[in-house]
Symmetry: D2
Subunit: 372 residues, 4 copies
């Protein structure tokens, strides 16, 4: 067991979450590498200093460049806005340092490609931050499907819906401009990643992307409020995805419903400790969706609690990510979801935007320029 | 209060339901017209006789022609297969008799047009059998939306999903051939009707229609197992509809979720006595979807029970239809949903099939040949 | 198949429900005996006439005595207040006519004993109206437990809670005086009956009975608002029952939760079409309560609908009672729940009241004067 | 912001939970005092060393005496079995060190009294570990009730039910002997504490305590599997509590249902991020229990996540306790729940055991020897 100096870029929503994760991950998972909160960077030296004091870092950096370059920073966590991701990854890659980058990989498909290539060229351990799929319930769902427990998948419905911009009277902000901050940029990646992880690659999409409230108090809104896409998985399943930041009443609607020939699965992040499983087995009179409460029998639950049904929460997802990142560094090999997995998500996003623009089905492989 | 002789064509699933409805509707709703179960017809004289005895009709007809023509049959209820609907309606219309016809209106768009025109030309009272929307919960949802209680609708998601053909080992049958018997023909109309009733006309659709199990024990399946469509309501809302007869685990998945700018509504027919309403009102800390149990305060509940939460069921929906049919006859004027409303549903279905064939968005008005 | 003339005493809440049930039961269940709505009686000739017209009876009676005595009334249904039950039963028994009596059996334990003895002495077919236990879900629960599917029962929790008197500002009425109209008299019998039917006899109880709002607008309230009792079943299980008419928010809280050594069952009448079953079987990671939607595989569902999850409602419970009453008459032998079963409920109620008065555990058998 | 050396006695289920809590509490809550994991003690030097390495303590103690006495240990957390609590508290009190002690306070009422008196005499900051009540949902419920939002409370139902000993085939263990390890000792305190916190003091109880499986593989079981009690709060409300370790299917059944004259609350720890609130307000047709998802608007949520509905988990409850313990130390004054609050729980437990033994209602104040 040895220490590793961790530097985090950003101390906001996710910067804090990663700081907390690295503070407790060792005790929780008995990891081989034990993180030391070495340095934090932010948009100003003053805010970095505030984060340092609040979260318990040893030092505050004047800027992310200093943090990345610091010899005591042995691994970098990026929790700053999408448009900063690329430069930070490239700098860390140049120095051969492992990087964890929050979703999505940069502010555009180009960024995502550059980020992935930089990391792979440099051979650094890399990981992207799709945390919701880390719950014991979703990890278990993924395993059930992979092992064929619900048979051949025929239908996938996913959504990521919240209502933080539902009120038409809410003012414009940085969130209402820039595609990377719209619903497709901000919320969609989580559920697209879930679709890919649970079911497999998406072959083609047919999408609609919409700005419902095009003007907020006189300021034009330049990114999307909601979007939907029909999709066809390469494995054959039909699918549908929906994303919204104006879904009145939905707080954390990361929801999926999966139909297979021998069973079905339902999940709603608003009750993240339950997985609903139906098996087309046994007497008809006893069939039904059963509410499985996660517990020590499910992946990554036991370290948090010995009692089933006692529940894990949002922060625990981030801690599971930290565990995987540290173990990947200890192994010297990236784990899922690597930047390449994040890039696959960006490709689907890009295909959806193109489909919307052309009002046509868009082949994802074709967009990627894959040889047929 | 006077009696009316009712003739029912068909004594199967729905024929029985309508017979029961007409047996009790008078006592339940104190209707002006009191039905007398005058005559039943079926595919054979023998089966009609069996139905007569079981359900308590006065007479069995050798065939539907006899029933329609019988002078003591003053109103006709059609509960026979889709391909019989048109001829029966035309015969009844020719005699000026009121007709209630089970959904969908015939076996094709052509049938639906012919049926509607025959009825309207003859000026007969006519009604189509969309029963699910008749629950107190859905009636109340419709009212809430119409009165603007959830604001401007921005999103509608509907599905009608069941699993009666989910098992790939199930044998082919009459249900697995003929578009009118597939998912688009059989299940979709109910939810399309709900979408139109709750939100308003659909302007355009982009659909996928799929036969997942193309062969059942050596017999080819010639109609669809599942279908989805993105849609755009003329009022502006984005929407999505999904239909399936292979939705493992779903028994009666007539489900809708509606987002408005000031509230939201959720409903699942599997718990038909609950309506979930969210209002974007009051302190943030107290907002949430509330589970409203239907009761005497909701439409058409009180006649069934004085106690709230005591619940209505499937059969009660059919009885509510019977009430409206009888009241329409007493008034001499059709009530919603008339054949024209049923035809609107058939137009959406047809647009979806065309969209699927062309892989393009299909304008519904254009398909109807409406002047732009 | 032959007709039987039915006379109903009362045309209020339950009188109507039974009239509707008898109007449709034949068509629904293809019963051997087909009821003819012969006569209705009420508290006045005028109201009886109103009920006759509304519900479709052939004749209105000036009083219940006339109804019971009428030669065309071949079976009597009692749906009038508790204090009328005894005299009506005794009159019908004297004439050898089958009687269905709404719960509870009269206004006191003395009434219940007299009613039961009168019926048994006369050898008439008799039945008491515990309708909630008639849902397909509760019938199935009963079967599962009887067949040992959840193992040995160790715990039973039941409640019957509504909120029709929850508002302290509600005025006093006939409901707020007379023990037979209080919570113990009015609501408790349903759930006590459920406890007896699902688990078996209750050996002893320890109860508290309370009038929370002792005064309503200056008028004293002389019966109970809520009551609870701990109980011990003779089969060994521990139990608890709670009843309330002031349970703010509860509309139809007929709820039970049953723990066995190998499984568990939960039911809530507010969602009467779901039964929740847990089996302590299979891998730990897949265990959970499953929501079984009732369907054709469950008792008495199919006659109402061929589709699972389509749902039955309150009125259907009454129709199932009517079916059993008619079949019992056809057989010439009472079916469960007979008056004796209703009396068993009254004995538990009486034991609870005595326990409350003495603040001691009360043995039920001892109260009945059973030889030990 | 200054550091404080924390020593934890025990490194099992709760010892680990507290270690993790102290590792992250500073970053999460920006506490004035920042804990340093100074020392851990366990039942052997070897296990203490194992915990040290796993959880990241600086030092392992050979025994708890050493830990308590160590000058760098400035606050003590007790997470060892109930029969060790008293001696540890007394030792820490003698040295004037703040103590957090897991529930229940020792192995008996005598222990609880001694523990409380030792702490109060010494004037040390003290706190007892009732974590479940710390969820944002339950904190908010408590506030709603205290502010009169649901009116006068008329009924409280609580349970703490799990199924870890439900299988009759499970072997005897240390858990199946010693009252402190039975259901009343182990599970009841959490829900009794909730009852006291949410509603207020309990005046009298009438209880039943039962060992259902009296023998496990030949070894007698000497403590209780389940228990129930009726109770009367001094504020007037009627109540019922139930506890079980054999509640097949229940994983974390910390459940309460509270009825007030103007509203009602329901909570189930198995879905700890939802609070169900009913308000007897607004049009009848729109009333219903609403599912409030916890979020930044609720107590102690925001530090864990900026997004509502994203959820907190078991471990977060322990971290909230750590925050309060540290803040209490910083203030130099105990916060709720202090040892005296833990003692109040023990008094109810003792009253229940006495009631069971005497089969009589037991006054709690009388048992405490309080002057009337
Ligand atoms: N996985 C998840 O659940 C979530 C992921 N995210 C992702 O996390 C990332 C950060 O988002 P939030 O934490 O919500 O943002 P935030 O606005 O709360 O925090 C951003 C942080 O980045 C810092 N920052 C900004 N520009 C910087 C620069 N040039 N150099 C150094 N630091 C800079 C700011 O000082 C601030 O501390 C984004 O990529 C976002 O998409 C955000 C929220 C949830
Ligand atoms: N609203 C709803 O919930 C439902 C509506 N339906 C609709 O009801 C209609 C009937 O369907 P089901 O009752 O399920 O069918 P079914 O197969 O159970 O019964 C069909 C009945 O029609 C009779 N029939 C067939 N050919 C006939 C002919 N040439 N002349 C006279 N009678 C004839 C048969 O004897 C039989 O009694 C269809 O249009 C169907 O789409 C069906 C099920 C549910
Ligand atoms: N099973 C269930 O779910 C329910 C059962 N009940 C039971 O049904 C019975 C009737 O209750 P409700 O229908 O609620 O009462 P209600 O007040 O709605 O109707 C009572 C009826 O009895 C008639 N009546 C009163 N005195 C009479 C007399 N001396 N002779 C003839 N008719 C007389 C009245 O005219 C009225 O039609 C009671 O025993 C009650 O406990 C009531 C409600 C629900
Ligand atoms: N708040 C909650 O949710 C829970 C509270 N508890 C409480 O926490 C306490 C500990 O229980 P668990 O962690 O479940 O037990 P555990 O058996 O998992 O761990 C007990 C720990 O105490 C240590 N220990 C035992 N005897 C000792 C001694 N004489 N000196 C020093 N260390 C000693 C053991 O080495 C072990 O590390 C108990 O009071 C229990 O009631 C337990 C579980 C849940």
């Amino acid at each position: 067991m040895s220490e590793i100096g961790v530097g985090i870029v950003g101390g906001g929503y996710m910067g804090k979450a990663h700081a907390v994760a690295h503070a407790s991950v060792g005790a929780l998972f008995n990891t081989r590498l034990r993180p030391r909160l070495e340095m934090v960077a932010a948009s100003s030296r003053a805010s970095a200093e505030r984060y340092r004091a609040a979260f318990g870092f040893r030092r505050a950096a004047p800027d992310w460049e200093t943090l990345v370059a610091d010899p005591h920073v042995e691994a970098v966590v990026i929790a700053s806005p999408q448009d900063t991701h690329r430069a930070i990854v490239e700098a860390a890659a140049a120095l051969g340092k492992p990087v964890f980058c929050e979703k999505p990989l940069g502010a555009s498909l180009e960024d995502a490609i550059a980020i992935t290539e930089a990391a792979e060229r440099a051979g650094i351990v890399n990981m992207v931050g799709f945390n919701y799929i880390r719950t014991p319930a979703s990890q278990y769902a993924r395993r059930l499907i992979a092992e064929g427990e619900i048979g051949e998948v025929t239908w996938f419905r996913g959504e990521h819906t919240e209502d933080f911009y539902a009120d038409p009277a809410m003012l414009a902000s940085w969130r209402t401009s820039g595609m990377a901050n719209g619903t497709m940029g901000d919320l969609a990646p989580h559920m697209i990643n879930a679709a890919l992880a649970l079911i497999g690659p998406i072959g083609a999409v047919m999408a609609e992307v919409e700005t419902v409230h095009t003007d907020r108090n006189g300021t034009p809104v330049t990114n999307d409020d909601q979007a939907q896409m029909m999709c066809r998985f390469t494995g054959g399943a039909m699918g549908h995805l929906y994303f919204s930041r104006i879904a009145t009443g939905r707080k954390m609607g990361y929801i999926y419903e999966i139909t297979g020939t021998r069973g079905a699965i339902r999940f709603n992040q608003e009750d993240q400790n339950s997985l609903w499983l139906y098996r087309a087995e046994g007497p008809e009179a006893e069939r039904g969706f059963r509410q499985i409460l996660t517990g020590p029998a499910h992946p990554d639950y036991l370290p948090f609690c010995q009692g089933p049904g006692h529940g894990t929460g949002y922060q625990d997802q981030i801690t599971i990510e930290a565990r995987d990142f540290l173990e990947a560094i200890a192994d010297g090999a990236s784990r899922w979801p690597s930047f390449r997995d994040g890039l696959a998500v960006s490709h689907v996003t890009a295909a959806a935007l193109k489909s919307h623009a052309t009002r046509q089905w868009q082949d994802v492989a074709q967009l990627k320029g894959d040889p047929k």
